[in-house]
């Protein structure tokens, strides 16, 4: 029987594994609808461990939006750790949802949200455990339609053999459109089988069906052409954009896990999109324009969410939260409202130029004072001009020092290594900066115990950004610069002991680079790696660089390309990129100009406060910037 619970078969396995709680479901605000009440069944997957996937906002939003429809049902599934996967294979238990413990194979659709490309092998593992053929072409009309979403879906070519569709942009509305199409096709008796269903889906705005597009390659290995194989599908697929976020106040009742997760707080997205124009930032580029939720819309989401969850911290999420046009009054009025309740507010990180002590104090007025995080991203002023995140060294030191002087003891600074045009000197300036911050901080606070944590990530060039043409720094380059940096920080022990350095080696970034800017030929590498046991590539204890490089060498050789070709090679202006037929709204010529300006260290301003500089998004997508201030304020909550 389809939709039947597998729990009785799963339960004996749970007694034999680590952290069984992550597989039992029953989270606060989760739901299990009767199978037969729904016409369309969605399994929603976050292709990483439960503790990472559960707090994911995108998945939570779609789960709720879909379940609000009487004709749809949505349940969640996550990557299964190897200990349980082995027992499932031994006992014939398939990939299941944590809500109803139903087999993923029974659902009409499997939606997978890719925040990062390192989840690809976990998709293959889940398909295999589910008993769904790995390749889309081998599936029939009884198998779920595999739909990829999330930022990585803006270049789905590396996984185009394994997914049936990719959805570009905001998911709130498009999941409804897809549901309608599947429902109608089922009600009509599945005419034309799976191919007809996919053709219908390909005509939904924002849905890309890779199998209807053919790639050819030139003698130099580059793409020669991407052509449609049917003329009833669009030549280019554009992204979806939700306007008026106040009309989409999801999640209304956020999920609260019993198990520990990476975010022990509820989150409210205060705006979507970012036009600061940081050139490395794919999220900022593909989510334009800026659309703010109003202060009153945010206020009611916070209120409803806290009542529904019992969390004691609210994260005010966005790509750059201190930029909300009413962030000051928002923080103050929320702090007033929750006075005496031990409810604290937090921002993911603060731009150095947007930080002020009043704001920071308001955020922590009623609760725990968490550490402060700034993300200068680049070590030197020069490289910060290249990435268009300009802030002077003096301003940076002054801001951090102000935080220390006002009672903060712990400040986190995020940087990237391997940025275009970067030299050893740019990276070594991170050490100078950290030393100066500690010196000035000790002086300003009169305390010896101020600390600064420097976190460094390797830069990976991403599609739909001005850096999409850049040659990625090799793992050796990254590792040698990080080594120099570590030596520089440790050279003065009296200061160095107040500085923590966190980083990963450069290897995972190279594979992420292959998967980010790869094309269809990379699919064979992913499959090979999974067949050889690769999964959980985002976890250092599972990631194997050697397995990836060996698979890449063998699987790419027949095409005359290799790992370096996809990663460290700089692209030329007119090369056809694997995502050119996917439209994020950004004008390719504008991106190229911005890339050239990066190389000559020129900055661009934010179009919220200066005239539009024609990135292309608003006219192409028919959207516009939506920002305040609204001038409204939060009413005190009436106590019942």
């Amino acid at each position: 029987m389809t939709g039947e619970t597998l729990y009785p078969r799963l339960e004996p396995l749970l007694a034999q594994i680590q952290k069984p709680i992550q597989y039992v479901g029953g989270e606060l605000n989760s739901q299990v609808k009767p199978w037969d009440d729904a016409a369309v069944h969605w399994a929603l997957m976050y292709p990483d461990a439960y503790e990472v996937g559960l707090p994911n906002q995108g998945l939570m939003i779609l789960y709720e939006v879909l379940n609000e429809r009487p004709d749809a049902l949505a349940e969640r599934t996550y990557a299964v750790w190897p200990d349980l996967a082995a027992l499932m294979r031994e006992n014939g238990v398939p990939q299941f949802t944590v809500d109803g413990h139903r087999s993923v194979r029974d659902f009409d659709l499997l939606g997978v949200s890719f925040a990062t490309e390192l989840g690809y092998t976990n998709l293959l593992e889940a398909l295999d455990l589910a008993g769904v053929p790995l390749h889309g072409v081998d599936r029939d009309e009884t198998h779920p339609v595999v739909v990829a979403g999330g930022h990585a879906a803006f270049n789905p070519e590396p996984v185009s053999d394994f997914v049936d569709c990719a959805v570009l942009g905001d998911g709130e509305q498009v999941v409804g459109d897809i549901t309608d199409v599947v429902k109608a096709w089922k009600e009509q008796g599945r005419p034309g089988g799976r191919v007809e269903l996919l053709a219908r889906l390909a005509r939904v705005d924002g849905v890309y069906v890779p199998r209807f597009y053919a790639f050819s390659y030139g003698p130099d290995g580059a793409i020669a052409a991407v052509t449609r194989t049917r003329d009833d599908v669009p030549a280019r697929v554009g992204k979806r954009t939700v306007m008026d976020l106040d009309e989409w106040p999801y999640p209304k009742t956020p999920l609260v896990p019993l198990a520990e997760s990476v975010h022990e707080r509820m989150s409210v997205e205060i705006f979507r999109g970012c036009t600061r124009g940081c050139r490395f930032c794919q999220a900022g580029m593909i989510t334009r324009p800026v659309r703010e939720r109003t202060i009153t819309g945010i206020g009611s989401m916070v209120d409803q969410g806290l009542k529904a969850t019992g969390y004691e911290e609210v994260g005010l999420l966005s790509l750059s939260s201190a930029d909300h046009s009413e962030i000051g009054s928002l923080a103050k009025e929320l702090a007033d409202r929750y006075e005496g309740t031990n409810t604290s507010l937090s921002l993911p990180s603060t731009r150095v130029d947007a930080f002020n002590v009043t704001l920071a104090n308001e955020l922590s007025r009623n609760g725990r004072r968490s550490g402060l995080t700034f993300a200068p991203e680049g070590g030197s002023e020069r490289i910060r001009r290249v990435i268009n995140k300009t802030v002077s060294k003096e301003d940076l030191v002054r801001t951090v020092t102000t935080a220390y002087a006002n009672g903060w003891r712990q400040v986190k600074l995020y940087f990237m290594c391997g940025l275009p045009t970067e030299t050893d000197e740019d990276v070594l300036e991170i050490a100078e900066l950290a030393v100066e911050v500690i010196r000035a901080g000790r002086e300003a606070s009169g305390q010896k115990d101020v600390r600064c944590t420097v976190s460094i990530g390797g830069f990976v060039p991403k599609p739909h950004t001005p850096f999409q043409w850049a040659g990625q720094a090799s793992a050796e380059t990254i590792d040698s610069r990080l080594k120099l940096l570590r030596q520089a920080i440790n050279s003065d022990r009296r200061i160095g002991r107040s500085i923590g350095l966190r980083y990963h080696d450069g290897k995972p970034g190279v594979i992420e680079g292959l998967l980010s800017r790869g094309d269809r030929r990379v699919g064979r590498v992913i499959e090979r790696v999974w067949r050889e046991g690769g999964k959980f590539d985002g976890w250092s204890e599972h990631f194997s660089y050697d397995r990836w490089t060996a698979a890449a060498a063998e699987e790419l050789a027949p095409y005359g390309v290799d790992l370096d070709w996809f990663t460290t090679r700089e692209r030329t202006e007119h090369e056809i990129l694997p995502w050119d037929h996917l439209d994020s709204g950004l004008d390719k010529e504008w991106l190229w100009e911005d890339w050239q300006e990066a190389l000559s260290e020129e900055e661009v301003a934010d179009c919220r406060w200066t005239p539009c500089y024609d990135c292309g998004v608003c006219p192409t997508m028919g959207t516009e910037i939506q920002i305040g201030p609204t001038g409204r304020s939060l009413l005190p909550l009436t106590v019942v």
């Binding site: 004996p12 007694a15 034999q16 709680i21 029953g26 019993l258 725990r368």
Partner: protein, 255 residues
Amino acid sequence: MARQPDGPPPPPTVQKLRIRYAKRGRLRFASHRDLARTLERALRRAQVPMAFSAGFSPHPKISYLGAAPTGAASEAEYVEIGLSVRCDPEAVRAALDAALPQDVAVVDCVEAQEGTGSLADRIDTSVWRVELPGVAPGELRSAVEAFLAREVVTVAKRTKNGLRDIDARAPVTSAFAAEEGGCAILHVVVRQGTPAVRPDDVLAALAAVADLRPPLPPRAVREAQGRLDDTGTVADPLGPDRAASTRCQGEHATI
């Protein structure tokens, strides 16, 4: 000198409540930490006026007593909470029960009475019931007899510091085999100590003395905790508070 946040110190604890709760069904797979987090959030949703510690990281005043292991269900877990406003214990029980997931039930809630001593002092023993699907009741009976006949049964236990040999026999004050609907059931009463001997360890001991190897994972439920008296019964740890409270009734705010 330790830095203190600006503003007045948090309101003091004016009442302590002692709570017995159960974890059942799927939530037997919850760990002690999972339950602690869940309980804290449920207290907030139920708007129980918790007392908080002072400092930059205020914590609600909650003290937990030894928790049943992950994978074991329990009908008798205990926790003590401090309130900043006096409340009716039964109202707190009902509100908290409603705010917790279905598989966690608040069974009992009483006000801690002055002079009755600490809750921890009233708990030294656990009463377990272990279902052994697939084990023949007769086989379990003879295994239990063999176990009880021994003075010492050494088993390897995984502790924080790696594998360690412990005696699983001495803390067991009684054990017997029963049968329900064809399923063998082990009833065992174990004194708490360090390292704790738990149903898993007793089963490892049965494997060691009688080669009893359940084909399916056993299901353990802690049925009661308390102080073992000379007659071999385990006393209700909330009894002394209940007895004292019938003598002095305070006035209560409602929540």
